[in-house]
């Protein structure tokens, strides 16, 4: 039973690990392979600050809220383990700021210590009259992806550095199940007008005195188009750009100016911070995550494909819940192929 995962960002690698962990003992013939044209540190996941935080509303998509919760609880459970630092995982507290009162988010009971901001706290943020405080997690993919890669390599998973041009290319080669974790470029494998790039740009600075995340929101400009500051283990990420439909992965001087001015207004001490790096990436934006099976046929060949892409700006936030869901779909495929059925009694 050969399984090929296409894509080596947080979604691809975590799905590969989840599947291997759950099924390698049930299916002795299980062979898992990863195909990708970009590996860490060049994936979209690597550029993300890594803060666990879903969007403000799930638009009634309870499934995604459950996957978010699953991910948070899974990561929280790893906090006390010796692997936490290697995974790039740590707790962090911080602020969400608004110019007017807003409804509480669906994740308010998932994070720790969620509460409204007090008037004195709001004095720190002129221009904002309402906000939340909570403790959440950061998962830095610069560390997490190598950690996942090590776990996978220890398990004998093979990695291939190539750009897959079609499902057939992989399935025609004897692969039984293809897991499509291709993120923003999934449309190249199968057209998907719902999938659009949500271009973001960030500036990484040295500002070790900043111990809280600060996310501002402007209901008019939309998610991520308002300044945010997210401290990492080494650098602090400044951002606040979301451009729907923009495929440009080059840094923009205008966006740099927007981010810098807005973040320095939010935290004046940042003016003294040293800029270390600038990065642009394309969030794989979709009205909802595509996580489903499809039987793809081409001539005589057919392959089972599990799609797991379209996680927008919340890929890290939702990744483990989706990996588990993809693994469940894989389990269904195994049952259908009678590979994971209970052993026959010996007569």
């Amino acid at each position: 039973m050969r399984v090929a995962i296409i894509g080596a960002g947080v979604i691809g690698l975590s799905t590969a690990l989840c599947i291997h962990e759950q099924y390698h003992s049930l299916v002795p013939s299980l062979e898992v392979e990863v195909y990708a044209d970009r590996y860490t540190p060049c994936t979209t996941s690597d550029g993300a600050a890594g803060l666990w935080q879903p969007y403000l509303s799930d638009h009634g998509n309870l499934q995604e809220t459950l996957w978010n919760k699953e991910t948070f609880d899974y990561l929280l459970g790893h906090l006390g383990s010796p692997a936490a630092k290697e995974m790039g995982l740590f707790l962090i507290s911080g602020y969400n700021l608004f110019t007017q009162p807003v409804p509480e988010p669906p994740w308010k009971n998932i994070v720790l210590g969620f509460r409204n901001l007090t008037p004195k706290e709001l004095e720190l943020f002129p221009g904002y009259s309402y906000g939340w405080f909570n403790t959440a997690l950061v998962l830095e993919c610069r560390s997490y992806l190598p950690w996942l890669t090590n776990r996978l390599m220890q398990r004998g998973v093979k990695f291939f550095h190539k750009k897959v041009e079609s499902f057939q290319e992989v399935s025609g080669n004897g692969v039984d199940v293809v897991i499509n974790c291709t993120g923003v470029r999934a449309g190249e494998l199968q057209p998907d007008p719902e999938l659009q790039p949500g271009r973001g740009q960030v500036i990484k600075v040295l500002a070790p005195w900043v111990k809280h995340f600060i996310i501002t929101h402007d209901i008019e400009s939309g998610i991520y188009n308002s300044p945010y500051i997210i401290p990492g283990s080494e650098f602090t990420v400044l951002g606040g750009i979301y451009q729907h439909g923009n495929w440009n992965e080059e840094n923009s001087a205008q966006d740099h100016k927007t981010i810098w001015e807005n973040c320095c207004r939010l935290l004046p001490a940042l003016q003294k911070a040293k800029i270390v790096q600038e990065w642009s990436g394309l969030r794989p934006a979709r009205p909802w995550v595509r996580l489903e099976r499809e039987t793809v046929r081409h001539g005589h060949f057919q392959a089972e494909v599990i799609h797991n892409y379209g996680h927008g700006g919340f890929g890290i936030t939702i990744h483990w819940g989706c990996a588990m869901a993809a693994a469940r779909l894989f389990g269904n495929i195994l049952q259908e192929k009678k590979l994971a059925s209970p052993p026959q009694p010996r007569l």
Partner: protein, 341 residues
């Protein structure tokens, strides 16, 4: 009296902040800081500088609260300004956890710090050996940066600073009109205050930049305070111990206790061990005194004995000391004008 000459003895957080307050309340004064130690070799440099007050049994609570509130307000403004990083002042959130119910549900300072509230059940799960907890956000003064920033501001107003070991306050009577005693633990010898005693504290300063929240055991003995570049792990409270040498057994004990609160600290690097002697007293000695010998008088303002709570109340006590200096000068000017009659 032209340009009254004021000497401040001591260059820790108390000495420097007192000197600064004197320049603010008495712009005509000529202020000089004298100390045998300057940053990074003061007791203040060892401390984490967390704004979490220590309770002085001999001082009225309302006064301690006033001192803390003034200090917090002052630093809050700096933390919110462009100078925050240079001054070493930053906000930090975290938890104070208790194995047994705390004596008071609401400490006197709970409405001064930000967002003070009991910890939720979910938050307490992270600390399986603890049954109660408080979550809040407070400020931290990182040293040396804060002391260096104070020194810079003092120099900008023309304050001179000299390395000098003052053996006796009286030796300053011919050069200065008023002496301010901010000698910290040094006051034990300098003015022979038997009520002042050291409480030895050993700490580890480690590289663990992923630790963003503070954690403190309500017993005050075990704590994890993330600073700008290092995390301070503590600690000990050894009464009457004058030893400034790090003890290796203590180092291991502190490390183990902190790792038990925050397991990821096992991966901490570059562990530096430091020792400081908290200048402890039942109450902060914040009062005027007049020394006299052979008809010559020397007004003194004492501002020492802040124990474990120096950073938490430094600005409040500095302002009060500056006020007392003002009173001394007014008294001197009054008597000198009487002498003219």
């Amino acid at each position: 009296m032209a340009a009254p000459k004021v000497a401040v003895v001591g260059a820790g957080v108390i000495g420097l902040s007192t000197a600064l307050c004197i320049t603010e309340t008495c712009p005509s004064c000529s202020v000089t800081v004298l100390s045998d130690q300057f940053s990074p070799n003061t007791t203040s440099d060892i401390a984490a500088g967390m704004l979490i007050p220590h309770t002085y049994p001999g001082t009225p609570i309302h006064m301690q609260k006033q001192w803390f509130k003034e200090t917090f307000t002052y630093l809050f403004a700096i933390s919110n300004s462009a100078e925050a990083a240079e001054a070493g002042i930053h906000l930090v959130s975290g938890w104070q956890v208790f194995k047994n119910a705390p004596k008071e549900e609401l400490p006197f300072w709970s409405d001064v710090v930000l967002g003070f509230r009991p910890m939720s059940e979910a938050e307490l799960q992270k600390f399986p050996q603890y049954r109660f907890g408080q979550a809040f956000t407070t400020l931290k003064c990182d040293c040396p940066p804060y002391l260096l920033w104070l020194e810079k501001r003092l120099k900008a107003t023309g304050v001179q600073m000299y390395t000098r070991k003052v053996a006796d306050l009286w030796e300053l009577h011919s050069e200065y009109n008023v002496v301010v005693n901010c000698a910290g633990i040094g006051a034990h010898q300098l003015v022979g205050d038997e009520k002042l005693f050291p409480i030895r504290g050993q700490v580890l300063k480690v590289h663990a930049p992923w630790v963003k929240n503070f954690i403190r055991d309500g017993d005050g003995l075990t704590y994890i305070y993330p600073g700008i570049h290092r995390v301070t792990l503590g600690g000990t409270r050894e009464k009457e111990s004058w030893s400034l040498s790090p003890d290796p057994g203590t180092t291991k004990d502190i490390f183990d206790r902190c790792c038990s609160l925050e397991p990821s600290l096992q991966r901490a690097q570059d562990i530096k061990v430091k020792v400081g002697l908290r200048p402890s007293r039942q109450s902060v000695r914040l009062q005027r005194e007049v020394l006299s010998q052979g008809g010559v008088k020397l007004p003194v303002v004492h501002n020492y004995g802040h124990g474990a709570g120096g950073f938490s109340v430094h600005r409040g006590t500095a302002k009060e000391a500056a006020h007392l200096v003002g009173e001394c000068i007014a008294a001197l000017q009054g008597s000198s004008s009487r002498a003219k009659l």
